[in-house]
């Protein structure tokens, strides 16, 4: 009896535990849809579909890039490893069909056939309204426009229905490039004005939820934090018709699962994976892994030069000799970065940025320098990093901590939550920290203006001030605007040399942007914003 009871219950358990787990079978129609659909998986998704919005995050930039057009864009050139790479110096018309750069203004003639997603034609009025909006809404878009000396609505002039002129406030080499970044996108002004209110004159609430542009794609469904679905705009006029009909972008928070999805062939493309995964995927060759250096970007160790001990040049030099450079390259990045250290002693300084320093790990020299500075027994300090990028920052800081311990420097690691990082940077009180800076506009003087200039911007995280440095940076900016190549070259070499001699921040490496995709996915292009451009992509 007992035995029979037992058997009954056991078979009951077995039935309860077994459940249908049939693999998905594609019906033919679905297989078709699949070949024209690009399935992207990434950790985070957009929080706003409009780059002019309040606090739009980086994934939101990708939506804006693909769903809106700009007056001009960049040509492609062949980059490292033959991957198409945007050409900093060559512009191509996008919404404009003709550009003429004058002495103190640039004039754009618009395409006649360009239409917004709702079918209304794109006119000069829309362009002016959109540029006015970018310089007026405040926050990041306005800041980015000002980087190219675009600050006042009066600078944007409607000449006639199909012609727009942008007047220069002053000669600035960055003005035209700044019109080709994501921010100066052209918005359907009539549609947005209809949905604007007195409290929200620029209609930011409306464009947050839907795309109102003329771009190659339009968002048809957006579930924040879960997925974005974009359909091709079949009436797109500003370039060759994209091959991908539909883009499904799913948020998959687990990096391990994103890799599994790629390796099983369920997802087409993903970024934001740990370096180790990228390196392994590269090695086993089932997927295409593209690794390209961040343009104008460097991961560095910064030191607060206003406070002891880092106000002492000898201490900063000692730190630069104590960095475990190669260990970081091998153990943290698995080789997926460009070293920014150990240049040969006789290597002349280039007119380029980023370029490597001549520092190498040399503990003896570091010890001697530290003794000279009066810190023979070391000191105590704190190294801070942004937890949002803990995957790289945490092991990096541990290695630095280990290395500094050999000099008697006791380092405590301070993990700063992502939400708090910017506040901490702004306070400029952290003595020692690691961070990455990368500029959209790929010009040395742009990088140095934000990171080393004495006007002490947010990115001059070291509070570094040097009249000599300011003179060189300002000199290079003026020389670039007036086309004085000799003076420009001298100034650029000058500020690079000074930055390496004074060493308020220690360059470690130029990070790579890594993207893994199926072998049949083609057309990946590297852009300064490091997000995907679907317009060039195809599935073979």
């Amino acid at each position: 009896m007992k035995r029979r009871d037992f058997l009954k219950s056991v078979s009951g358990i077995a039935a309860g535990a077994l459940a249908p787990t049939a693999p998905a079978i594609w019906s033919p129609a679905k297989a078709d849809a699949r070949s024209e659909t690009l399935l992207i998986v990434s950790e985070g998704g957009p929080n706003n579909l409009d780059i002019h919005g309040v606090g739009t995050n980086v994934p939101g930039y990708e939506v804006s890039w693909n769903c809106y057009d700009r007056l001009i864009s960049h040509e492609m050139k062949s980059g490292p490893g033959g991957v198409p790479y945007y050409d900093r110096d060559k512009f191509k018309p996008e919404l404009a069909e003709d550009i003429s750069v004058g002495d103190m203004s640039v004039t754009f003639r618009l395409r006649k056939d360009a239409k917004f997603h709702d079918g209304t034609p794109v006119t000069a009025k829309d362009v002016k309204w959109s540029l006015d909006r970018a310089v007026s809404v405040g926050g990041f878009p306005t800041f980015q426009m000002s980087a190219g000396s675009l600050t006042k609505p009066e600078q944007f002039v409607v000449v006639d229905d199909a012609t727009v002129r942008v007047d220069f406030l002053k000669k600035d080499r960055l003005t035209v490039p700044d019109l080709a970044v994501i921010v100066p996108c052209v918005v359907n002004s009539e549609l947005v004005k209809k949905n604007a209110s007195e409290k929200d004159p620029w209609g930011l609430e409306f464009t947050k939820q839907q795309t109102a542009g003329s771009g190659a794609y339009k968002v048809t469904k957006w579930t924040a934090g879960t997925e974005v679905v974009m359909e091709r705009n079949d009436a797109w006029a500003c370039g060759p018709m994209p091959k991908i009909r539909r883009v499904i972008w799913r948020m998959v928070p687990q990096a391990g699962n994103r890799r599994a999805l790629l390796e099983r062939g369920d997802a087409d493309i993903s970024y934001e994976l740990p370096f180790k995964d990228f390196q392994e995927m590269k090695a086993n060759g089932k997927l295409n892994v593209v690794s390209l250096p961040f343009s104008n970007g460097i991961q560095y160790i910064g030191m607060n030069v206003t406070k002891p001990p880092f106000d002492n040049l000898k201490v900063r030099q000692a730190m630069a000799y104590a960095m475990p450079y190669q260990k970081i390259m091998d153990a943290v990045l698995f080789g997926l970065a460009n070293p920014m250290f150990g240049a040969p002693k006789d290597r002349p300084t280039d007119v380029a940025w980023p370029q490597p320093t001549k520092y190498v790990t040399d503990m003896e020299k570091a010890k001697a320098l530290l003794a000279e500075a009066g810190y023979a027994n070391g000191f105590e300090t704190t190294i801070s990093f942004d937890l949002n990028f803990a995957g790289v920052n945490e092991p990096l800081c541990v290695l630095v901590q280990e290395s500094l311990a050999q000099l008697g420097i006791k380092t405590t690691i301070n993990k700063v939550p992502g939400a708090n990082w910017r506040t901490e940077l702004n306070k400029k009180e952290m003595p020692l920290f690691t961070n990455v800076f990368s500029g959209w506009l790929d010009y040395p003087e742009y990088f140095f203006y934000w990171c080393y200039h004495g006007n002490n911007s947010v990115f001059n995280t070291m509070s570094y001030k040097s009249p000599e440095m300011d003179k060189l940076i300002d000199g290079a900016r003026t020389a670039a605007a007036t086309g004085d190549t000799a003076a420009y070259d001298a100034d650029v070499k000058g500020f690079v040399d000074l930055a390496f001699a004074d060493i308020p921040r220690i360059p470690l490496y130029q990070p790579f942007v890594n993207v893994a995709m199926q072998k049949n996915v083609t057309g990946y292009e590297y852009w300064f914003h490091r997000r995907l451009d679907y317009r060039a992509m195809a599935k073979g």
């Binding site: 009896m1 219950s9 405040g138 934090g225 992502g418 506040t423």
Partner: protein, 337 residues
């Protein structure tokens, strides 16, 4: 009965007010400056101040609180900054996803744990007792996200039996029209059986993950409670009167042993809602847990407050339900507030 329920709900009001105040203060005490966070990587100090003003964080705390409670009274939970959507709308669309997953996990867990516990109690010291001990200990010792990852690795990546861990439905299916918000029910209402199968197969791994985690308390509690009841006088009398072992165990012992198990179930359900947070992360599940965590990381106040408040309301309702169930199972228990 109705009066009792009303009285019960009335008692819940002070706790809810407390929750509103505490979450408001706690979120304000979080480190991090949402204005600096949302001003973006390239913001100047002025840009941060502009954003702070737009978000209303430049006002005194008491004024912010007044605004918040006023909005709350009008059913407005505020707007999430990370996702840009109204919190109430998002909670409403995400709660069914979490609830469906948690309930299914609980059902799977009950179906396995209760028979296991009963069997272990009727044969203490036997191999099934040991099996019960080992599986439950293992289940509760493994962190949920780890169990989830292992299951994904084995059943999706290695064996390919399970669909891609991409949320509630396969990418190429469209969600059924919302009636209950539970895809298993809505797909059946819409008679879309392919989508039903897809929804079910997406649910299995996360539900099993939750079930493995919650086996232990249910099985152990069932076993302990059954052991106590089986040793009691009325069971001995029933056995002595010659009733069949099945009747003794199921009709007499089991019903009496259920009370502590029900209490445990309510506890398990509430901590499953907590464990959900991690499971949702692993399976890209669009539930309220992952929503709240993301908001917390970004110092996004409104969703965190909305989440805590929703949870508080759910706990109140759950406790009420359990109290009513007691009365149904054991008429000796009187519902007296």
């Amino acid at each position: 009965m109705l009066a009792l329920i009303g009285k019960r709900l009335l008692f819940a009001i002070p706790s809810l007010i407390g929750v509103v105040i505490v979450t408001f203060l706690l979120t304000r005490a979080l480190p991090g400056d949402p204005a600096a966070y949302f001003a973006g990587p390239a913001a100047t100090k002025e840009a941060v101040e502009q954003i702070r003003k737009k978000l209303g964080f430049d006002k005194p705390l008491i004024e912010q609180f007044f605004h918040y409670t006023n909005d709350l009274a009008h059913g407005d939970f505020g707007t999430s900054l990370t996702t840009g959507q109204p919190v109430a709308v998002e909670l409403r669309s995400r709660l069914p996803a979490s609830a469906e997953l948690t309930l299914l996990g609980l059902v799977v867990s009950i179906v396995i744990a209760i028979p296991l516990g009963v069997l272990a109690a009727t044969r203490p010291g036997s191999w099934i007792d040991h099996l019960c001990r080992v599986t439950t200990t293992a289940g509760v010792s493994l962190p949920v996200f780890f169990t989830g990852l292992v299951l994904v690795y084995v059943f999706y990546f290695r064996l390919g039996w399970s669909p891609a861990p991409l949320g509630r439905l396969d990418v190429f299916y469209t969600a059924p029209p919302t009636v209950t918000g539970f895809y298993l029910i809505d797909t059946l209402i819409a008679r879309d059986f392919e989508a039903f199968r897809s929804a079910l197969s997406q649910l299995i791994l996360p539900a099993v993950t939750l079930a493995i985690f919650s086996l232990a308390p249910i099985a152990r509690m069932t076993r302990a409670s059954m052991l106590a009841v089986l040793a009691s006088d009325f069971v001995r009398t029933a056995r002595a009167s010659g009733l069949s072992p099945g009747k003794v165990i199921v009709t007499y012992a089991f019903r009496n042993a259920m009370l502590p198990v029900i209490t445990t179930l309510s506890m398990v359900f509430s901590f499953l809602l907590g464990a959900n947070v991690l499971v949702e992360k692993v399976f890209a599940w669009p539930g309220i847990g992952s929503y709240a965590v993301e908001a917390l990381i970004a110092s996004d106040f409104a969703p965190v407050q909305g989440f805590v408040l929703t949870m508080a309301v759910m706990y109140v309702l759950l406790n009420l339900l359990i109290d009513i169930l007691y009365g149904v199972i054991d008429p000796r228990v009187r519902l007296e507030g």
